[in-house]
Subunit: 308 residues, 2 copies
Amino acid sequence: MTAAAQLAMITLATEPTFAEWMRQVQSDMETALGKFLPAENIAPAKLHQAMRYAVLDGGKRVRPLLVFAAGELFSTQIAVAQRAAAAVEMIHAYSLVHDDMPCMDDDAMRRGKPTVHVQYDEATALLVGDALQAQAFVVLADGEMDAARQIVMLRLLAQASGSLGMCGGQAIDLASVGLNLSLAELEQMHKLKTGALLRASVLLGAWGGKVLAQNEILALEAYGTAIGLAFQVVDDILDATADSATLGKTAGKDAADNKPTYVSILGLPESQALAEKLRNDAHQALAIFGDKARRLRELADLIVQRKA
Amino acid sequence: MTAAAQLAMITLATEPTFAEWMRQVQSDMETALGKFLPAENIAPAKLHQAMRYAVLDGGKRVRPLLVFAAGELFSTQIAVAQRAAAAVEMIHAYSLVHDDMPCMDDDAMRRGKPTVHVQYDEATALLVGDALQAQAFVVLADGEMDAARQIVMLRLLAQASGSLGMCGGQAIDLASVGLNLSLAELEQMHKLKTGALLRASVLLGAWGGKVLAQNEILALEAYGTAIGLAFQVVDDILDATADSATLGKTAGKDAADNKPTYVSILGLPESQALAEKLRNDAHQALAIFGDKARRLRELADLIVQRKA
């Protein structure tokens, strides 16, 4: 055996598998999120308890995984990646809390637990969402890193969260109930509603490591757009095919709410083919990064192959 | 007449009066806010229309006035002060939109207009608030200035908005309905609910100009705390004594909602004496800044003497 082959074997033996890496990030993030949220006994205690209820002990942490996977490209420091990941996850968690409220989707179950307005009350759910959004910016603005890149990251997170990002997507979603959306309109809605924050996760992880070149930004945006849409296509497939216990939320809700989905527009087989195509697009976009993009490739695979 | 006396007269003649200065800031801010909010015709148009409805053409702009007044201390550039002021005002406006919703105060009138959930609908009001909070951070993160001070400003705004600031105060307020709060508890609630953002306004305006020394921070915090409490004491006095038409919102609401107020705890004459004492505290805190703090002094006077 050559020395190079031996080195490769050692590297293979010591590098964690994707499943191990994922569990490690998820476990570290649970600790980090716990640390970045005010403790339960700090006043106002009920608000802080409800914020922790909304964020901790649940979720697949897809966005933090994307932050860490993109962080591997440019050796982003763990402390920086943790803050970026926690910030993005808090934005995501707040959007779920508000989304579940009676005036929006009116959902009683989330991640296998009662939603925040059911467990607490509506006013608390409203404040939990508001305070989590603010806390996301506290966490990201508090970290110690190069200030110019930190500003870029704060700007990316704010843009992805606002009316030209996630909130804008929610507004289009609301307005689209009962309408016959075209595939292009459905895609535009999802590019904002879930795509914006997924793209931001990838970009934040990478900006945490260095000032990005234009071709790197474009490649990461292309990757983020592809996995963002794939995520939604698979969500629609699962909503139409899986049961509530597996999903940890109410299945078949989109059809019941008369919401347009990829499955309702394209049918199931076409939707599955689209998810595969998007996975391929995501892999293609990563070509310029070589081996360092391994975790991002694996995440694209996971997003398409997940069962819940 | 000496040359110095002549110069003083010229200065007096060319410096705008407080009323002129205030109208100028208010008018400039209306333009700036209009520019910092997405245009009505940008998709999603209904969301952007509702965001503009919530922010523009209304309000006394107390927080922007504080930003600009504090900016005079250290010659903060107008473009920097405008962004800081717009960001703070967007946070304030979002908090009013959410506060007025049926699950919170359930108010139908605000600044003499129907509240956002009445004019549009509840889901839109929820999203308007969420998107305005994000937009505040977009506006502040977008500006061009020294990145290290910009980070400090973003952190201050996020902290003042979150669960240890404004949202925390709202949570304490909610929990206090029907309770007999002590004066200390009432004060703690208001220090967060309205005080945190008023203090932040003062600090942001000053940080926009230079890196603050510790004694300057302490003096501005003391000023901000005093005018924040004065603002609330006067609010309670007006709620008990003025009519809805003058206030542009429903008068007598606190008593009707069984909410503890300064007037309900201290009575009217004691509340008026407290407002005077706080105005005096605010003036004292500004002593180290000399003449440059003139607008901050005048604002303290305005806050105590206002009739609406």
